[in-house]
Structure formats: C-alpha cells, structure tokens
C-alpha cells in the first residue's frame, strides 16, 4: 500500500480521539462596494452578498468534511471594518440597524459568528469610529452573532490611550445589559491586529484584502498533548522537534482543505492560521500540553518558558507546512474555554499577573477571563493598557477579551455554556493607575518601530 498502516492509524487517531479538526473556515468579504446613499438599499446589498457567500461556504465545507473525514467545526464570515463603511451614514440608530443586518444574514444562513463590527483607531478616531464604540454596548447585547473588534494601537503607531480609556466603561455597560456579562465575550481589543485572522471574536476583513479571501484556522492541542505524553524524556530540543513534526502534519491538512475549498468557491486562498486553540472538550487543552511538558499546573514558575517553547515550535512546524501561514498562528491561552486553565485558576496556580506574563510569549493575549463586576472602569483600562503595551513593544499582536461579570466576586465561577465555557472570576489588583491613564493622548511608537 502507498502508506503504512501506522501512518493511516496516526491520522485516524488524531481525528477520532485527539480532537484534530479544522476549527474554522472563515470567509473574508469586502463590503465597501455595497455602500449606497440609500441606507435601505445599502443594507439589502450587504445582506444579499453575505447570504450568497455563506450558502456556498457551508455547502462546500460540508462536502470536504466528508471527503477527508476531518470535522470542519465552524464556518464563519468576516467583513470590512464596519466603521469604515458607515462613514456616510453616521447616525447611532443606523449602526444598530447595520449590526442587525449582519446578525440576520448570519442567522439566516446558519453561520454562528460574523466578525468585523469594529474600527481601527490606533492613531485616532473618525466620527464613525467614535460612534461605533458608543453603540457597542447595545450591539453586543442585542445581537446574537455579531463579533466586534477595536485595534487601538500598533508598533508603528503607538497606543491610542484615549481609545483605551473608553473601553472599561463600555465593557461594564455591555456586561450590565447582557446575561452574566456574556456580551463582552464578543469583543476583542487589539494592538497589531492581523487583517486575515480567521478566529473569532477578532476576525475582520482588512482594507488591504481582495474582494474576498478564504482563511483557515486549524487547531489541535489534543494531538500535540498526545505526542508530548509519548515523549516524556526528551530534552528541550527534542521536545521542540516532536511538536514541530506534529504541527507540520496538522497544518498540511489545513492547507489541503483550504486550497480545495478556495478552488470550489472560486475565491482566493488567504492563509492558514495554525493556532493551538482549546475547547471545553476533554483533552483539548493547551494547559494540558504545558502540563504534559512536566509542569504541575500551568502558572507554576517555569510556565513562561514552556509556553515560549510551545509557541515557537508550533510556528516553525506550521511555517514549513503551508505556503501562507498568517493570522495569529501560535497558541491561545483563554481561561474559560480551557479546562486546564480553569483548574489552574481555581487551585491558585494561575493569577492575572502570571497570565499577563504568559501572554508576552503566546500568540494573542488575555483571553476569555472574568473579573469582578465591581471592578472600576479605570482598573479595567489599566489591565488592557498593560497587555497592549506588551504587544506594541514586542512587535506582536496582543488582545484582551475581558468580562466584568455583574454581581460576581473573585473566586466565583460563571458558566457561559457552549463554546465559551466556564470562567472563574479572577482577583484584580485593587490599586489604581487612574491618574496616569487620565493623562490620555497617544503613546509614541517605540524606537524599535523605526526601521525604515
């Protein structure tokens, strides 16, 4: 036979028992040419375009799922940042109506999340950007499937602290309007946001993209955990090597499906994002990988080194496997979506300070974590500003997805259910940086950005 039985069994086991899947096929769609001075016609064009694309995305993804026997878990849409297409319709009620249109298009075509209700404000706001931020509490609490993002800084632009200063209050307002504050789970605040990230909640179709682009997110912490467990004694170089080899294989699967799907849809193939992304399924945990390295609980001293090694090996394996690796590619370390992370917080192994340290070497940032509902807005802004500074000064993407859960205090558990999992409410440093943050303005771009 052309392949050894071992090779066939290895692939089958990855899928059947180690939760290998294509986490998402995300179709980025340009909406700029839908803009119309007649707002009703504008919304109709947006709706029709999204439904048309979504129908073929879902149908063709289902076919490939059967052809290759790999689950394609999510089919999603990402659109041009909405603040951009709303510049000439700058009224709050119209932002809400546009969000309603996106939500309806997703719902009517069986798409669970649609990303792009956001703005890039790394150097300043347009009127539409500012209005979009003001409407976010209502949009995030009233719509079901619309995901939002804000890019508030970049290594080459610095940090828009005025934008950060709006976020704590806005998140608290959003939380107060949605059950258990879950509306906040649909917003990511970024710096250096990639324009081709296929993962929600932060996906959007950047202005440098074509009319449409297909991006694939492939995951597989369970697969990596398994090979690490089978290699208990290797040194760090050997550990890195076995992870690279495994990630190479799973990225190849993503590349294959991405290329075939893009040919079937007649839409250019964008990138494969190889990110280890946990789910609440048993064994599908990034914390589980770190613990298989030989760390008692993620958060223990030594964890930052472990995450750095994992992240680097994942990138190296992925880079060899695909012509275009992009998006966030690395390792997510969300709290509520990863059983091992939840356990580490509950057992006191992992606090917010160590989590922030881990994000300096992971691929995104502080993700899906809950803080007490009473946390002052200025302290939330401080948490966000610190995380984003890490991204700006290390020339990488960082993001924050924070949920201030109304009525909950540190140590409580909040069950969001489904993909969003369960969040232990984390202790927050009660001292304030309010007077510092109140200075506002823009943090200058770091000297390391001057590379021309």
């Amino acid at each position: 036979m052309a392949f050894d039985l071992e090779e066939i069994y290895e692939t089958a086991s990855m899928i059947l028992s180690q939760n290998l899947d294509i986490r998402t096929t995300t179709l980025g769609v340009n909406l700029k040419d839908c803009i119309d001075s007649d707002f009703i016609a504008f919304r109709q064009k947006v709706y029709d375009r999204l439904c048309g694309h979504a129908a073929s995305l879902v149908a063709e993804s289902d076919k490939l799922e059967r052809k290759y026997g790999i689950p394609i878990v999510n089919k999603r849409l990402a659109v041009t940042p909405v603040s951009l297409i709303m510049e000439t319709h700058c009224h709050p009620e119209r932002f809400l109506q546009m969000a309603g249109t996106l939500d309806a298009a997703a719902r009517d075509s069986g798409i669970d999340f649609i990303g792009g209700f956001g703005a890039q404000v790394q150097k300043g706001f347009t009127r539409a950007d500012r209005m979009l931020i003001d409407t976010l509490p209502e949009v995030l609490s009233r719509t079901e499937r619309v995901c939002a993002f804000l890019n508030v800084g970049a290594t080459v632009a610095g940090l828009n602290l005025d934008a950060v200063n709006l976020i704590g209050g806005m998140l608290k307002e959003t939380a107060s309007r949605s059950e258990k504050g879950v509306g906040c789970a649909k917003l990511v605040v970024f710096v250096n946001a990639p324009e081709d990230n296929p993962f929600m909640a932060g996906a959007f179709h950047g202005t440098g993209e074509a009319d449409a682009a297909l991006n694939i997110g492939i995951s597989g912490p369970g697969v990596v955990k398994r090979v690490v467990e089978k290699n208990r004694d290797g040194d760090l170089t050997q550990l890195s090597e076995i992870i690279k080899r495994t990630v190479f294989k799973i990225t190849r699967a993503g590349e294959l499906i991405g290329r075939e799907l893009s040919a079937a849809l007649d839409i250019p193939f964008g990138i494969v994002d190889i990110s280890l992304a946990s789910t609440t399924a048993r064994g599908d945990s990034v914390a589980g990988v770190i613990e298989a390295f030989g760390i008692e609980k993620i958060g223990a001293h030594g964890s930052t080194l472990a995450v750095a090694l994992l992240m680097d090996a994942v990138k190296k394996g992925g880079a060899m496997a695909s012509g275009n690796v992009g998006g966030l590619s690395g390792t997510f370390i969300p709290i509520s979506e990863d059983a091992g992370m939840i356990d580490a917080v509950c057992k006191g192994a992992l606090g917010l300070d160590k989590l922030e340290a881990l994000t300096a070497v992971c691929s995104v940032g502080l993700d899906m974590f809950a803080v007490p509902g009473q946390t002052p807005a200025e302290i939330i802004n401080g948490i966000i500003a610190d995380e984003l500074a890490i991204g700006i000064f290390n020339n990488k993407t960082t993001g924050v997805r924070l949920i201030p859960v109304p009525g909950k205090k540190a140590g409580d558990l909040v069950e969001f259910g489904g993909l969003l999992g369960t969040a232990p409410v984390m202790q927050v440093n009660p001292f304030s940086a309010g007077d510092f943050l109140k200075r506002g303005g823009r943090l200058p771009a770091p000297v390391t950005s001057m590379r021309n």
Binding site: T11, S13, Y68
Partner: protein, 95 residues
C-alpha cells in the same frame, strides 16, 4: 494508470470481530467500488485496525454518501469507520 484512479482509504478501528471485511466489501461491491489493497493489524495500543485502499472512480454513489453509509455500517459492527481521500495522507505524510 495511477493518476486516473480516485483512491480513497477506508479505515476501520475497534475490537476485532468476525464479518468486518465482509460487511464493508459487500457494500463496496454493491456500489461499484474496487478494492485495491487491504492491510490489517492489532496495533501496539491493542486496537484492531483495518485499512482498505479503494478506487472510487466508478463508484455509483458520491463520496459524501459512501462516507455516511460506511459510518452507519461501522456503528452496526461497533467499530469506528473513517473514509478519507488519499490526498490527505499524501499531504500529511509525504513531503
């Protein structure tokens, strides 16, 4: 010629029992699918694994249908069945 074939791997995993090859082979015969090669073994972790390489070029049912039908046959045998086009193995295991 190799290139004219539509090679698909059918992998059956579970506890060894009688009738596995017969059930799958009967279905393939009924759907005009030619078996090119069969390989089976008890793996080191104790699972029985049988893999068939078949040519589905002339199959009377589309691949999605075959995949669904074989999944049902597998369930009746208390085995897991995976149907996967050979391109997946080429991509994952060959550079």
């Amino acid at each position: 010629m190799q290139t004219e074939k539509e090679l698909v791997f059918i992998t059956v995993i579970g506890k060894d029992r009688k009738g596995v090859v017969a059930s799958i082979a009967t279905y393939l015969y009924q759907n005009n699918v030619n078996i090119v090669d069969i390989n089976q073994r008890i793996m080191t972790d104790g699972y029985f694994v049988m893999s068939m390489m078949v040519d589905a070029k002339e199959a009377s049912a589309p691949m999605e249908q075959m995949s669904r039908d074989l999944e049902v046959i597998g369930r009746d045998l208390a085995m897991r069945v995976q149907v996967q086009h050979e391109n997946l193995f080429k991509m994952m295991h060959r550079i």
